[in-house]
Symmetry: C2
Subunit: 185 residues, 2 copies
Amino acid sequence: MSQPNQPSQPFEITVGNVTRSLRLVPVGQMGFVPLVEFLGDSELTRAVAQALLPLIPEGTEALLTVVTNALPLAHELSDLSGLPYEVARKKRRTYMQAPLIQEVPGLTLGVSETLWLDGLHARRLGGKKVVIVQDVIATGAMATALARLVERSGGTVHGYLAAFKQGESSLPVRALQELPGRVEP
Amino acid sequence: MSQPNQPSQPFEITVGNVTRSLRLVPVGQMGFVPLVEFLGDSELTRAVAQALLPLIPEGTEALLTVVTNALPLAHELSDLSGLPYEVARKKRRTYMQAPLIQEVPGLTLGVSETLWLDGLHARRLGGKKVVIVQDVIATGAMATALARLVERSGGTVHGYLAAFKQGESSLPVRALQELPGRVEP
């Protein structure tokens, strides 16, 4: 099978006074999705965190994210808001104590993943109103797995926050902007 | 073989006005090392970045770090200094274009690793004076691999910056503090 040709126009986003041309990366043989990269871009990360700040639901007591792309964003959002954040990992670490293990079924790319949350960090979510923070929410499978981690930690899910939404998920996601789920070449 | 008993006293660090008790994690059957966790701790991350700021060598034009623990730190340091940063990954990503691949021989834990730097990001280091940023530098094997990535990107290594040093490496590392390489139980 041949790959479709890469579209000649990159996809452009503007957040605050930061504008970026997103690379389009192939998904299957069907089309392209814009790639949001926070790693290596502190300017975009900060602009997005500042724009997300007013979208944090009132009463939020903690944030939960997952490695890797959303990590600098969650850090910055924690820094700006003063809210603590926790991070689910995609690998077991030897130092984890009684980690919570959570499967993420059927991701966009068709590969299922496993999340690990150190028991010591899970405890910090106990009894708290927790908001899920992600870079992009598409199907919502990852967000749902993170929500399960919140519940299993004894916290309550207080909302879903994403820099970008892609396509339709059934979750009540607050996002800055919609990204095309598929850009036809 | 039996594990040594966990020392009862955690190891304490203070950076700026932030104090943390570090968990001690077993290394082999020999002892314990203090675990520095930036993930989920924006307060410590910010304090460390602020303290590292004056240690960035004059003339530095970019920073290079590696996932995962040092990532929020490098982001924050980039944010505070205005210097761009790049991130080496430990897995190949499908969207990477002509990535540089670099082996990290003989790490502390005896497991060798591979680093991946997206060609698009490598190009941004070309012709620049680059400082390596890490959370902890111990043997210096990872720092040396990152330095190779800088050179292979066409940049020059302008220094090594770490929040903490552990033991003796032959690299000229600027760090805030020395951590015990091994805490006897």
